[in-house]
């Protein structure tokens, strides 16, 4: 089955991100196709490469990056939600005159249309939020 995933909550604060990751990984391992994972609301914070969790805890951001690399996953961060919350890629940092960027490997920043498209193209859109 072709699935779209939406993640609406931030890492560590809320289980939604863990559940979304576990679901996505399990679906891929079962041979399902993940059309896209879309990060919205505080979910955009799953994409900051500046995350430094304690060593005995899971690294949620790296975990997504690794899954993206392994399965060529499309991880998309909403640009409007990201900019509000200080998530920038190199282009957006430059465009907004900021001195740093913090997007992790495997994520890309794009518009909300990518969420609607995931709803249209996927057989199921699964939302992980509060």
């Amino acid at each position: 089955m072709k699935l779209g995933i939406m993640v609406s909550e931030g890492p560590y604060q809320h289980q939604a991100s863990d559940s979304a990751y576990n679901f996505t990984k399990a679906a891929l391992e079962k041979g399902h196709e993940i059309f896209r994972v879309f990060f919205y609301h505080d979910g955009v914070n799953n994409a900051t490469r500046l995350t430094v969790p304690p060593q005995d805890d899971r690294n949620i951001v790296n975990r997504w990056s690794e899954l993206a690399k392994q399965y060529n996953l499309d991880l998309v961060v909403c640009i409007a939600a990201a900019q509000r919350r200080g998530l920038l890629d190199e282009n957006e940092a430059k465009r907004n005159g900021k001195d740093a960027n913090n997007i992790a490997d495997g994520f890309r920043i794009s518009g909300l249309g990518q969420l609607i498209e995931a709803g249209i193209q996927s057989e199921r859109l699964v939302v992980f939020g509060d």
């Binding site: 939406m6 609406s8 919205y40 609301h41 409007a80 939600a81 509000r84 518009g111 909300l112 249309g113 969420l115 609607i116 498209e117 709803g119 249209i120 193209q121 859109l125 939302v127 939020g129």
Partner: protein, 139 residues
């Protein structure tokens, strides 16, 4: 029109939260407005504290936030005219239809007659509505 591959699906946006206690309501409305460009079959539902999002006369000066409620008036212009409000949620909060903004749309098949966009529904009707959808986004 944006790329949707010519497919039309039924999208329901479920709004469950008060307009200013968190950002969900505002960011939900942003999805609805962007999504309108994809010409899908869109419905909105307002339940629980979400019914406050449609309350008339919102004044946000005291909390230093932008009052984004006038934007709901534009939904009719985007052909978004199926707005369902949970009757029980309204009643539990001491509200009636008269307390909500008068959201309307113009029916081009009836000489652009102005028609109300909001319908009050009970929980069974809401359940049936959800059952019909291809995509349900909950905020």
């Amino acid at each position: 029109m944006e790329e949707g591959g010519g497919v039309t699906k039924k999208f329901l946006y479920v709004n469950r939260r008060a307009p200013y206690g968190s950002i969900y309501a505002l960011e939900s409305l942003e999805v609805v407005l962007i999504g309108a460009a994809f010409e899908q079959d869109v419905s909105l539902a307002f339940i629980d504290d979400g019914v406050y999002q449609l309350k008339k006369g919102q004044a946000t000066d005291g909390i230093g936030m932008k009052n984004f409620s006038p934007t709901y008036n534009a939904l009719g212009d985007y052909d978004i005219n199926k707005i369902y409000v949970d009757k029980d949620s309204l009643e539990q909060r001491g509200l009636t239809l008269d307390d909500l903004m008068n959201l309307t749309w113009e029916d081009e098949n009836e000489n652009y007659a102005e028609k109300p966009s909001i319908s009050l529904v009970n929980s069974e009707e809401l359940a049936a509505l959800m059952e019909q959808q291809d995509v349900v986004l909950s905020f």
